[in-house]
Subunit: 211 residues, 2 copies
DNA sequence: TAACATTTGTTATAAAAATAACAATAATTT
DNA sequence: AAATTATTGTTATTTTTATAACAAATGTTA
């Protein structure tokens, strides 16, 4: 299967979550425009994304929700779960750990790391915190490929380098510095301040234009 | 000034933060390719964004960092600070509050809201938590225009509706449901699970392609 | 059963974003 | 002082993403 557009991958993740909610509500089939409404996008967008993954409904009946979830999972999940580690077990690292557990079956949070002796050895929701000195060893032995980076801003760049050297393939960066990584490492910047400043800008500028 | 592209606004926020770091390190001027390297993007991208905001350096000398920060701030900040509220004062809401205070001078976090009587009246970093029943009153009286939404997923959509009815103009949505809002409300979905699933997908698919 | 309506799947078009190309300018070297 | 180099600012091009248009399928109504 050809590689999918980034934006489509994003939406597929959201479709799936939304579809699970629909199942919880006893729904079995869904039209493109219904799904679109739930995601605040257009029906064409939905159909185009579904075209990308090569799913077909029986025309005019909408999509079978379970089938569609299955197909999306086939595309965006890996066969074997991927192993994930949290780097920096502070406020945010712990909050994420609590939130994360059990949320995604194909993503296993397996370890946390910190530099602070007081944190090393501690556990949150069964996820143990190891010394950052053992990073490489544990990453390699447990086949960890994804890192959630929640260290303080000033050590983020250094840590990113070490992570990549240790064999990490993808980083979700919660710190508020942009990182430099080789192009074969997938990096997702997840920056709250930027998002908030963006909201502020468009709050100020958008209303004049539309409607 | 014409409205800027979304991606440019995002990057401007990041340029500014990065430039502040440069000042801390005693740097006074910076070349487009230096700034680009720090953000993991291209120099052309940097120059193009700077063109959008109409800033000019003396050619071949790079940009004066202080000047550039000033110009960016003029564009993306408001004259008067905008007032912000946190909706849902749980783990995440409180973590954000701690983190947020003092971080952005033109964004004032002024109140938090919760439905849980145990939380109402509590304070984190001087930010007081009010009953959700007083939402409208407090939003109007304090001219709050931006909401950070950190309530549980199941009440997110209802809360979004109430927020908009109360006069909120922008929402930063941390919950993992997509919201429906009128087109004159600026909504930024800030969804960790989606970001993580995206990382997982491209960890699986990207390396084969590039390099 | 003929006309109409609804919904999908796909191709065509438009809009947004990123990249490339390059002229202009100023500093440096020869 | 001519040639070379480095850097910006801008226009042109390409790529990516979103939207529009519409044919095909299938059900519904007259
Ligand atoms: N808290 C939030 O809501 C929030 C929001 C947005 C962004 N962030 C960003 O997330 C990061 C963490 O924030 P936080 O509030 O959890 O801070 P925190 O201080 O509570 O946690 C940071 C943890 O990292 C550990 N650490 C320091 N250096 C380390 C190293 N080299 N290797 C491993 N661990 C190390 C510290 O011991 C600490 O436990 C910061 O970069 C911050 O900018 C936080
Ligand atoms: N914790 C994380 O790291 C994390 C990460 C990503 C996303 N999220 C999302 O953020 C949201 C909050 O997560 P959390 O971990 O802070 O949960 P939490 O349960 O700790 O906090 C939720 C708070 O909202 C309050 N609340 C409930 N209904 C309300 C209402 N109608 N109005 C106002 N307040 C109300 C609750 O009393 C509670 O204090 C969830 O939607 C979750 O999906 C959390």
């Amino acid at each position: 299967m050809k590689i999918l557009p980034e934006k489509t991958v994003e939406r597929l993740s959201q479709y799936r979550r939304t579809l699970y909610n629909c199942i919880d509500q006893g729904k079995e089939r869904i039209y493109s425009h219904e799904l679109a409404l739930l995601l605040n996008i257009t029906a064409v967008q939905v159909r185009r994304d579904i075209m990308f993954i090569g799913y077909n409904s029986y025309q005019r009946k909408g999509y079978d929700i379970k089938d569609l979830i299955g197909k999306i999972s086939l595309i965006i999940d890996t066969q074997e779960p991927l192993n994930v580690a949290v780097i920096g077990y502070g406020n945010l690292g712990k909050a994420i750990t609590t939130y994360f557990i059990g949320n995604r079956p194909k993503l296993n949070l397996v370890a946390a790391f910190d530099i602070d002796p007081k944190k090393i050895g501690s556990e949150v929701n069964k996820i143990k915190c190891y010394s950052i000195d053992r990073l490489r060893e544990i990453i390699v032995n447990n086949d960890i490929t994804i890192a959630i980076l929640t260290v303080p801003t000033h050590s983020a760049r250094e840590m990113a380098k070490i992570l990549v050297q240790s064999g990490i393939k993808g980083i979700l960066n919660f710190t508020t510095v942009n990182l430099n990584v080789a192009p074969n490492i997938y990096l997702e910047e997840y920056d709250m301040i930027t998002s908030l400043e963006k909201v502020a800008y468009f709050v100020k500028h958008k209303p004049e234009e539309e409607e």
